[in-house]
Symmetry: C2
Subunit: 454 residues, 2 copies
Amino acid sequence: MSGTMTTENLRIVSLDVKDIRFPTSLGAHGSDAMHTDPDYSCAYVTVKTAKGDEGHGLTFTCGRGTEIVVAAVKSLRNMVIGQTAFEIFKDFAGFWRSLTSETQIRWVGPEKGVTHLAVAAIVNSLWDLWAKLLNKPVWLLLADLEPEQLVSTIDFRYITDVITKEEAIEILKKAREGKEERIQDLFVHGYPAYTTQVGWLGYSNEQIIELCQRYLDLGFTFFKLKVGNDLKDDIRRLELVRNTIGWDNTLAVDANQVWEVNEAIEWMKELARFKITWIEEPTSPDDILGHATIAKALKPLGIGVATGEMCCNRVMFKQFLQADAMQYCQIDSARIGGINEILSVYLMAHKLGVKICPHAGGIGLCEMVQHLQMWDYICLSGTREGRVIEYVDQQHDQFVNPTIVDKACYQAPRVAGYNTTLKQEAIEKYEYPNGSEWESMYQKGLFHDPRKLY
Amino acid sequence: MSGTMTTENLRIVSLDVKDIRFPTSLGAHGSDAMHTDPDYSCAYVTVKTAKGDEGHGLTFTCGRGTEIVVAAVKSLRNMVIGQTAFEIFKDFAGFWRSLTSETQIRWVGPEKGVTHLAVAAIVNSLWDLWAKLLNKPVWLLLADLEPEQLVSTIDFRYITDVITKEEAIEILKKAREGKEERIQDLFVHGYPAYTTQVGWLGYSNEQIIELCQRYLDLGFTFFKLKVGNDLKDDIRRLELVRNTIGWDNTLAVDANQVWEVNEAIEWMKELARFKITWIEEPTSPDDILGHATIAKALKPLGIGVATGEMCCNRVMFKQFLQADAMQYCQIDSARIGGINEILSVYLMAHKLGVKICPHAGGIGLCEMVQHLQMWDYICLSGTREGRVIEYVDQQHDQFVNPTIVDKACYQAPRVAGYNTTLKQEAIEKYEYPNGSEWESMYQKGLFHDPRKLY
């Protein structure tokens, strides 16, 4: 700690939260079978120390509903204000539990839905602050923590039947060999990405072919298509994609929770001939046993089950992993209770031999999750084999330090923090409902002015 | 429908929501291992038709956090205003899905946490309105619906692998025999209750003995004790209770989610000698596989597992039932998405042979759940054998038509509606943060005035 990092300097004196919405529904970007008109948004948290250091954290949302998450952040805010940054980091698991188990608020969760998203936004802002105070990107902060320190950020409540704190420390200690080489390798080669950009529902044939070609030219070898609205149309689009990308490239599909358990199995049997690596979110994100049934039925067809972007906490992930219900674990960097809880999922997945292929896209998900997956490569799994991070080329220019993907690989972030600081201009334009772009869109009649509702 | 029930008369013209909090933390009432200082509260919804008919619905909360649920109700409110009551009831499942799957808000759930509690409060107000328009208590409204009508209120999405709409109709049709006799029987005998009143953590020995004696005198034969903070103390209190109530009465314990999976098994082995009927909420409410492990281990000791009061939706209940993870299904009338979704849980539990023993207490839970359990007796299970409704004698006097328990039995409600209308006086006193009792408690220094926080 440098001389200027006194307790008083590091006291958190404010926590601000903003509702930021981008009007992505206008272009049908990000549309899927269940979320037909998302306006990519976030609840954006800024914590500030007495000295003036700032941390920025967010949780991703889809437009309406962001205001509820903002209300939840405000309800938790006075548990953060007045705390000293490094006191939090010394017992981060304890602080995390104080937020997730606030004795009265807990009832309206617990550890799920709006309140847990609010915790994620707050906790992520604290990790950004921590990394900035140490002048490191988050992935390097994580990689530099001793196993005991890293594990001290995790609440092991309810997961000790799969992994204990002591086991986690052992695993991390064993994984240290070759760490420095992997860091150097990351700087050179980055981390492989796949694209979902070629097949949102609502895109035309021409758009699909053009996008496949564009991402092939960019070096992508792994493509994902949205399915589940209409079987005939899925077959038509999959033929289109396979004809364009060929049969050596990897192809996955995503149903965004639209099916019943048995329906998922029947539908995927019809699509299996397109050589599908995984079916993502075949049914309810809460249905562990349903996913296990689907996974068992599709295994002989060479299709794995992928899910996790809406899995609500470590207890649910634990069971998906225990039940062989996910072959690809898709952690989401803006959901569950922030980095602290996501680390516990990485540790459980590692112990149970399941690959993590993170969900990304939305707002800031690519920016954040690259740090976690790079930490996994350096400190836990030690390999990138069969692992890949989703990449969606949207809204990155809203950030001061956007994700950089080159030759279909995420490049290791070099600036301090979690890459979650929005440009001041983005905030001024897109803060909801008063941002300048929103004012202009109300004027043009593109959106209803919500301030006129009641 | 009477002549005055025109479409225009029945249009819903307003939806109001209030944050109502009772300062129960002052008396340590309702304290448990996880929720140490609850202020029993609710988000209280009033819908009003053009003609002036009102429906009242609520979801139970524990104090802080109610304001977040209130924000969520406000976010959903314009999906209700402008609708016509009987149009909603004609396709109640469709309307229910429009609320739970609002294309943007869904992301911050889905079907769990704050947004789902908000749906519950809204939906419950609509059932109250429906029953009042027909001048029937809700249990009789339910009992009078034809099987096809009743089932049309339920969204079967994600549960068809356990029960389909067609199967549900068949089950209900078969259960009709003897219906009228059971209605008459209910009017005479009511529905058996059990008491949790004898053993909140924080009560003294003398209080416990005195309360056991009082509830014995009132005719109770089923008692429940909070456990899980300290094994020695649990043993001391269980001895105290068994010595007072004897060995022929039924005794259950409740850990309120405080244990790890293995810890629950070890702890309960120590308590088994007190002849425990069920251990309630041994661990995380999300841990289906953990509960299944506990249930398997405790079966030889004659102890069943009970859970459900914080189970977040029908998909989770489905799995608890499929996995043999709950021997007693404790639906909570204020949680999951209101009556519509709770009905689906009753149907699944019936099909899979699991008894429902509802959670109650809090604010309005007894008032509401008696209707559902009485409907089950009349129209579904046809029996009260081995079934019992929790009863906590608190806050009933805040309601215009409180639950009546006599000779340890809930008496069949006779007034129209869902018994969820709060007295005007209760609202004036306890609306948060401006109610007159709150003002007075700030003055006395019993609570901090939250309006002075920021």
